[in-house]
């Protein structure tokens, strides 16, 4: 946690609108237009798709291995093409004879039709036979797919087939999503894509703003690994279903929860990620909780300051509202979480803080008192006490505020915030000596004993994600064995 404080935060900016399209690029359609067509799929793309397919099967989840390094080294232009071709591949695994392949990037209402040359389409189908574990099925045997695969791809086909026999027809999809998430998490340097941020071209483009201490320090194009992973998971067909339905798949749920928690722990914010998670799992309290926390974070000082100071290219907007707007969104989300899981103490504590931020002090105090009754860990109790102190103070309940702040101070004896609060509370009521005594307690904290993470308030905005590593481990574990060696 300590290091996080000094690390720059990053969040994803969304592109609005579309600029002129270059040849061979995905073009955004105009209003009422037919889906645009990519006339040519460049040479080498299907070969890269094949390399990607092998990398998904070789990669050990959670490890910075050779497969991860290979994909991490791909340019964003290649990744954008992969987004199309992997999408087409998965569609083909579902329907091998499909001739008309259409893809639709997140945020676009109209799909784009992809036309492969005949040899490309044939190879795509052969790869789909392998990825889908379908070499023994009639269509694949008819085209002689098995004869066109190298030993590695044949082994991949067997692994996929074995998964299918166990009832999970999503081998490549899951492994692909894990691979791209791992690239984003384990090779963060690869997320910075070279490119001109001043002239966005439209289509699948993402930007990342790096901020430090509340100020923008860099704006770059972002590699589309998360977009690739999300796209793949949209195709997940749960056990016993004959169509894609990721909202009923536990691995997809775990993936979104774990990766969203990782993003929050690393202050690497991406609103689209949780927007998609909520679209798939609208009533999942864990996903909703992380969504609410994200919006609460967006209302906080560091991000609000960065938003106010940011200079963005034309056509690029930050997906961050004003403090009040973000708090109101967070309020609604936390309320829904508590409807779904009334005993969720940490959510109630944060709900109380958000209500206070919106000026609803009486409601906030009620929620914070109730939260304190549900909480058992000292860190969350510290937050509840500190925030309750602020709400009691706002309500004019001086003694109750003092008791709450003292409770927070006792829970985290090296924390400075409760001591500042006690001093300021006394000063506010004209008790100068009381104010001095409280600040003296802060000054008496010996410098050599103090640590950069002494005060849980300093990492409040990442504390909700403290279990991210455990969540990832749980999600990765089942996929460690079923891979190419």
């Amino acid at each position: 946690m300590t290091a996080r404080l000094g690390l720059p935060a990053v969040w994803c900016a969304c592109l609005l609108g579309a600029g002129p399209a270059a040849a061979g690029q995905l073009r955004a359609p105009g209003p009422g237009a037919q889906p645009p067509i990519i006339e040519q799929v460049g040479t080498g793309r299907i070969e890269r798709l094949e390399r990607w397919l092998k990398a998904t099967a070789r990669h050990a989840p959670g490890e910075d291995d050779e497969s991860l390094a290979e994909i991490a080294g791909w340019s964003n232009a290649w990744l954008k093409e992969l987004w199309i071709d992997a999408n087409a591949l998965i569609q083909t695994t579902r329907s091998l004879t499909m001739n008309r392949l259409t893809v639709r990037p997140e945020g676009q209402r109209v799909g784009t039709q992809i036309r492969y040359a005949s040899p490309q389409l044939h190879r795509l189908r052969v790869l789909a036979c392998a990825a889908g574990g379908a070499l023994v099925e009639a269509e694949c045997t008819a085209m002689g797919a098995g004869d066109e695969l190298d030993p590695e791809l044949r082994t991949l086909a067997e692994l996929s087939h074995a998964a299918k026999r166990r009832g999970d027809d999503n081998y490549t999809i899951r492994r692909g999503a894990i691979l791209h998430a791992d690239v984003a998490m384990l090779a963060p340097a690869s997320m910075v894509a070279p490119g001109d941020v001043t002239r966005p071209t439209g289509g699948l483009e993402r930007f990342r703003m790096e901020i430090s201490d509340g100020q923008e320090i860099d704006l770059r194009q972002s590699a589309v690994h998360w977009e690739l992973a999300r796209m793949l998971l949209d195709f997940v067909r749960p056990r016993g279903k004959d169509r894609a339905d990721p909202g009923h798949d536990e691995m997809v749920r775990q993936w979104y929860r774990a990766t969203a928690a990782w993003m929050q722990l690393h202050e690497d914010h991406d609103k689209l990620h949780l927007d998609r998670a909520r679209a798939i799992f609208p009533d999942d309290p864990d996903i909703l909780f992380l969504s609410a926390c994200q919006r609460e974070t967006y209302a906080g000082l560091p991000i609000q300051a960065a938003v106010r100071s940011a200079i963005l290219p034309t056509g690029v907007v930050l997906d961050v509202g004003s403090e009040r707007v973000e708090l109101r969104v967070a309020e609604a989300m936390f309320r829904r979480v508590l409807e779904l899981r009334p005993g969720y103490g940490e959510a109630r504590m944060r709900y109380g803080r958000v209500l206070g931020g919106l000026g609803k002090h009486a409601e906030a105090a009620v929620e914070l008192r109730r939260a304190a009754g549900d909480l058992t860990d000292s860190q969350s109790l510290y937050y509840a006490s500190l925030f309750l102190g602020a709400e009691e103070e706002a309500l004019g309940n001086r003694d109750a505020a003092r008791v709450a702040y003292e409770q927070a101070a006792s829970l985290s004896p090296m924390a400075q915030s409760p001591l500042l609060a006690l001093s300021q509370l006394a000063r506010r009521y004209g008790d100068r000596n009381g104010a001095l005594r409280a600040i003296e307690r802060l000054f008496a904290l010996r410098a050599e004993d103090r640590e950069a993470d002494d005060d849980p308030w300093w990492w409040y905005y990442v504390a909700q994600a403290r279990d991210a590593e455990d969540l990832l481990e749980t999600m990765w574990r089942p996929y460690r064995a079923e891979r190419l060696q």
Binding site: L5, G6, S212, D213, G214, Q215, L301, P302, A305, R308, S309, I311, L386, Q416, S417, L420, A421, S423, Q424, R427, R428, G430, R432, N433, A435, L436, R437, I439, E440, L442, F443, A444, R446, A447, E448, R450, A452, D454, D455, W457, W458
Partner: protein, 287 residues
């Protein structure tokens, strides 16, 4: 206070040594009902000297008051440095900040005291108010930059150091960034400043964000905000602040005919001459 208007009762509270360095503890004092106002009087930008109590006209909540005493360049100062030691203050900037703080300390006179509050997200008392300037200088040399910025928290701590002694307090706040991690709210600290006899001068490095908190705080306490483009000349800015503060009058009066609590609007004028006046716009009584 060593001379003047308030009674000091030293309480036996010690500021514990920070960083292993021995410090002189600030004396916590009680006060009589006198109101002190630091007033800068200039004519064409030059300080006006030689004014007597009768030259000042102080109007407290619309009621003219009788000025008891005026001091000029004779009351020792308590100079508190509250310095941003967040991540962004590193390398040359850190050296320039140390140099600027050191310059102020070197320019203090006999009887003056100094203190150092450093803040990143962590607020620390580097050195409590002391006439042992060398110990403050050493604390300044030891201060390292890292972490985020708790400007509001750090400023509050600086105000309270000023409040810990009845001396004439000048708080110089330097920050090159925006607040990203304070617990205290800006409005609460502005409220505390209204109750304190501390004049705040702010030095802020120009950025795309306006230093609204420092602007309001310096205005409220009768100080001034300097927005500088770079820190290369920070030393001259700091020395300029000290020089300006030394050329202020400390005007004192015992309020009569006004309420004993609440906000008191102050209007300070100089009789029978053209002059520019800079003083705090009011104070919160009963605190």
């Amino acid at each position: 206070m060593r001379r003047g208007l308030t009674t000091t009762i030293a309480l036996a509270l010690m500021l514990e040594a920070s960083g292993g360095r021995a410090q002189q503890s600030p004396a916590f004092s009680s006060r009589i009902e006198a109101v002190r106002v630091d007033v800068l009087v200039t004519d064409n930008g030059q300080p006006v000297r030689g004014l007597k109590p009768g030259d000042f006209e102080v109007i407290d909540n619309g009621v003219p008051q009788v000025v008891d005493l005026v001091s000029f360049d004779e009351v020792p100062l308590n100079v508190i440095l509250a310095l941003d030691m967040s991540d962004s203050v590193a390398g040359d900037r850190l050296e320039q900040l140390r140099g600027a703080g050191g310059g102020v300390l070197a320019a203090l006179k006999k009887g003056d005291q100094a203190a150092l509050v450093s803040f990143s997200h962590v607020v620390q008392l580097g050195a409590g108010l002391t006439s042992d300037v060398a110990s403050v200088q050493a604390a300044l040399g030891d201060a390292q930059s890292s972490g985020q910025t708790a400007l509001v928290d750090g400023t509050y701590a600086g105000i309270m150091v000023g409040e810990s002694d009845a001396g004439r307090a000048l708080l110089i706040v330097f920050s090159d960034g925006v607040d990203t991690s304070s617990w205290l709210r800006a409005d609460a600290v502005l409220d505390a400043a209204k109750r304190a006899d501390v004049v705040v001068y702010g030095v802020s490095v120009v950025s795309r964000l306006k230093p609204e908190f420092l602007r309001e705080l310096t205005s409220l306490t009768g100080g001034r905000l300097f927005e500088i483009d770079k820190t290369a000349n920070l030393a001259s800015t700091f020395l300029g602040i000290l020089d300006e503060f030394r050329h202020r009058y400390l005007v004192s009066y015992t309020p009569k005919g006004v309420a004993k609590d609440g906000w008191h609007k102050l209007d300070v004028r100089v009789r029978n001459r053209r002059a520019a006046i800079k003083a705090r716009p009011g104070y919160l009584a009963g605190s």
